[in-house]
Subunit: 293 residues, 2 copies
Amino acid sequence: MTLAEFQQTQLPLVEAELTDFLKQHTTDPRLAESMLYSVAAGGKRIRPLILLAVVASFRKELTTGVYQCGAALEMVHTYSLIHDDLPAMDDDALRRGKPTNHVVYGEALAILAGDGLLTAAFQLLSQAQLANDEKLLLLQLLAEKAGSQGMVAGQAADIQGEHRQLTLEELEGIHRRKTGDLLLYAFVAGGILAHQPEAVLQQLQQLALHVGLAFQIRDDLLDITATAEEVGKNTHKDQLAGKNTYPSLLGFVEAQQALVAELDAAEQLLLVMGQQLVFEPALLQEILLKLRM
Amino acid sequence: MTLAEFQQTQLPLVEAELTDFLKQHTTDPRLAESMLYSVAAGGKRIRPLILLAVVASFRKELTTGVYQCGAALEMVHTYSLIHDDLPAMDDDALRRGKPTNHVVYGEALAILAGDGLLTAAFQLLSQAQLANDEKLLLLQLLAEKAGSQGMVAGQAADIQGEHRQLTLEELEGIHRRKTGDLLLYAFVAGGILAHQPEAVLQQLQQLALHVGLAFQIRDDLLDITATAEEVGKNTHKDQLAGKNTYPSLLGFVEAQQALVAELDAAEQLLLVMGQQLVFEPALLQEILLKLRM
């Protein structure tokens, strides 16, 4: 199955779990509308896609519980976007080509929509159709990667670093937590759902670190080269805001080379896993290909 | 043991779980400071106190797992206060006699401190020293009561109802979710931790509904009668903001009577439970006494 076929057949099942759960578990109509607005604003669903692709790569069945995990993960990602876009944070009016949540629903409801989505993620995961020990492992890992050791800490460090020059190490520390940790969850949760041993989860973690870095470098490069229309959000923002980015710290060409190096390393790891394990790397290889510029 | 002794001996153990966990699980120093600031700002810890008192009333041991549950609950409560106080929400500069989180740390970090505390609550609970099935039950219930069916929905409805006259039914619906649902969790979680059957959990839920209403009516009355110094936050705010309150809808005297009625009903239920069950109502009776004006 190609990645395109996989996306077309599998992601709608994640979307269904996502929207059905939110509709059934939100008692305030306007709050529900606000939450569903940001969820429907779409995006590429790259995190649930990776989670599902990892499970499928180990030739395991994609069960309802797996789709529910994917939906919970996308809820956490969506909440983080809503809060990051707030005027007090990155102050973004445009996301995925649409007005951001607070522009449409006001700041108060946007904050609450984020809070609701984060809570709903834990609610859905805690009642997912999975074994109890598996659910608790996933809950612990999700909270660890999304919270004040992971994504939230990364966003806090990002905000504090805005008005000074960072070292490359500091920048990587921010991105490893801000974007990397939730991607890491996607890879490792896929491995947990495929009942893989600790050693394999470690390999998935390595893979996730390369992909996470690649993701961020690519994002920084696109902010320079792409138009708002192409990427669905305002571009050239980083430079205007004097933000620390890979191109600003490394130079444009060196940042391009770093992107290639991370993707090459990830590619190499996939090949090794394909040789060592019952593991079919084709789907994940296709995802890596899409990250090349 | 009197309530005062119970508080003095037991609450420090909840506080220890709370602060130790946050210190160990927050990687950004300023974010940690902001989270700990609001946690340390104190308050009466009424929610963990109720949870612990319920467990003790059933003559069950207070284990590390119980204290961890209390700590997780207080994290959720603290997050909700930080977000509620934000300029976009209730815009409060003073809480428990101290400047609110965003006044000290800025809006961005306050939003993130709230996000971090909410996530940490689920993290702590998912790795608490309790049986797996018990933990999952508590996680499901906490997410349900804290999220877009519960507290978050109540806050959303509250904000939307600010500029129009509400019916008493609408006002009760808002408060049942906004403040009532997390109190309900405190009572029912205590019952779950004391291994009580569904019928008893139902009684605890009834008790919580009365106490929740009493709480809110009392809060509304105090806003009129007390000084900022006495309650540690700005008073007379409701009236100035044209907020719907029990006194504004029922009249002051009728609101006082409603408070008495709710506390009487709760008192009655405690007596019945004391007669029917292995249940020592004294601690909870003392808590009710404190709510009388």
